[in-house]
């Protein structure tokens, strides 16, 4: 299907090229509008097709956003993840979202949720080793007062945010782990919305990965 979708987009470009060509060659306005109408109908068919069938053919997108019903318990499948790093003293720390750049945090988490369980143990370890190294490099940069990530290297404070906003937890030096990070842990989290509203600590955590393994 991926190749069919590529052909759909190529068709859009090709139909547009015919419109461009007709600008130079058409004898009348009426002739030219025939090609333009074909281009419009093709573009509308693809874009409405993607929306109505809810099948992406990017850049023709279904635009599904928060379409589900949110229940009183946080979705179990897939359960939200929390990636934490453990320092040399055994203390767990949340990791600033900018530490993962060039990966956007929500893309990394979605990948961890969907793909990491499909890997063998050695491959999982390789991934977590890479992430632990990235977390440590970013921690060192934050401690040195340098930018934690790379996205703001050109535009500084005018950098476009990602789709989700994330707190910049390592913006203040005091919040940055002072000890090197020696282990990465990934938890799945489960909670009831009303219970956690009353008590923010009311979360059940299940450790699903750690690197290095004990």
């Amino acid at each position: 299907m991926n190749l069919v979708k590529a052909i759909c987009f190529a068709g859009f470009v090709l139909a547009g090229a015919v419109v461009f060509w007709s600008e130079k060659t058409s004898r009348s306005e009426r002739d030219r509008k025939v090609y333009i109408n074909a281009f419009l109908l093709y573009g509308l068919a693809l874009s409405f097709g993607a929306g109505i069938t809810q099948r992406e053919s990017w850049p023709f997108s279904p635009w599904a956003m928060m379409a589900g019903i949110a229940g009183p318990n946080v979705p179990q499948n897939p359960a939200p993840l929390r990636v934490v790093a453990v320092d040399a003293l055994g203390v767990e720390h949340d990791i600033d979202y900018r530490a993962w750049q060039p990966l956007v945090e929500e893309e990394l988490y979605a990948w961890l949720q969907q793909k990491l369980p499909l890997m063998d143990q050695q491959t999982q370890d390789n991934v977590l080793k890479y992430l632990l190294e990235k977390a440590n490099v970013s921690r060192a940069r934050a401690l040195a007062g340098e930018p934690v990530g790379t996205f703001d290297r050109f535009l500084g404070p005018f950098t476009a945010p990602s789709h989700f906003l994330h707190p910049k937890i390592w913006s203040q030096a005091a919040a940055v782990p002072s000890q090197p990070l020696v282990q990465l842990r990934i938890y799945k989290e489960f909670w009831n919305l009303e219970e956690r509203r009353r008590n923010p600590e009311k979360v059940r955590r299940v450790k699903v990965y750690e690197y290095p393994r004990p």
Partner: protein, 305 residues
């Protein structure tokens, strides 16, 4: 009778797509989309994704890589392509070979944008480039360089005259933008039914987002709404009404005066209550009547070089 209906359809179609539009409105769309694309592109590091370790690419289908012509392990090559995209976008922005620049940047963004999500999905929507790719490609096949060009040749004398040639590309881009709202409303109703429009549903969504602390920057506004069932219901009804009704800006220009500000307010509300950004927001500028604005301000273009 049937013939009459067909004629009315044809008249409606022509009115929608070929009503005369000033060149400046189309040229403004070129500037809006190229500036916006530059903003997003310079706020990411897409070439570096190509350099991610092999493990991240194991589950990416080979067909997905061919679809976007992505070949992992070549960050330098991607840097070169990104540089080319930046130059093309600057060309589109300033009017340097505007049509060629729009085409090159549109095609390069079709390749670069999916890098952001390719490791887990081939659909990089809501990341800022979806409408941009369609818009830049559409603009490249239209006379989008007949106004607001710092360089090159323009159609002297015709540049401020409204014409149908400036209408259809702008309208198509506007339709693509409206589909964001239309399909977003449609999928809520088609997948969840009327149950989506309930105070409980919105209450739970707001609580959920405020409790995922990795994405929780603003909390108090969302929790305030969650605490008021009547406000939750009003917001849920308003969301569906706006999403399904926004398409009116295409057929009834007068509605833009209140629907566009309402949409901006809607996105600001989502930002501060759910911590979700809508990166396409600046693209709503393509609904403005730039010609009228220029006429009102009595601004004139410099004489052609």
């Amino acid at each position: 009778m049937n013939n009459n209906w067909t004629q009315r359809m044809a008249r409606g179609w022509n009115k929608l797509w070929f009503s005369p539009e000033p060149a400046r409105n189309l040229a403004a769309a070129r500037i809006v989309f190229s500036a916006h694309a530059l903003w997003i592109l310079m706020s990411r590091d897409l070439p570096a994704i190509s350099g991610l370790p092999h493990e991240f690419w194991i589950f990416v289908p080979r067909t997905a890589l061919w679809r976007y012509l992505i070949f992992p392990g070549h960050p330098r090559g991607e840097e070169f392509l990104q540089g080319l995209a930046v130059l093309a976008l600057l060309g589109a922005l300033t009017g340097f070979y505007p049509r060629l620049s729009c085409l090159v940047s549109g095609l390069l963004l079709y390749h670069l944008a999916p890098l952001e999500t390719i490791i887990w999905t081939t659909n990089p929507y809501v990341r800022g480039f979806t409408i941009t790719v369609l818009a830049l490609v559409t603009l490249s096949f239209s006379p989008c360089g007949d106004a607001f060009c710092l360089f090159g040749r323009r159609r002297v004398g015709s540049k401020t005259n409204p014409s149908w040639v400036y209408s259809w590309p702008l309208r198509l881009i506007q339709v693509f933008l409206c589909q964001v709202y239309l399909f977003s409303g449609y999928v809520k109703l088609s997948s969840s039914g009327l149950a989506w429009i309930s105070a409980d549903n919105l209450h739970n969504w707001l609580l959920y987002i405020s409790q995922v602390d990795q994405v929780s920057v603003y909390k108090s506004f969302g929790l305030w709404i969650a605490d008021h069932p009547a406000v939750c219901l009003l917001v849920a009804v308003g969301t569906i009404a706006l999403e399904l009704g926004f398409i009116a800006v295409i057929f009834w220009k007068g509605s833009r005066i209140w629907l566009i500000p309402l949409a901006i307010l809607f996105h600001m509300g989502i930002l501060f209550s759910m911590n979700l950004t809508f990166l396409n927001l600046p693209q709503l500028l393509v609904f403005a009547d730039w010609e009228a604005l220029f006429t009102r301000l009595k601004l004139t273009q410099p004489a052609p070089i």
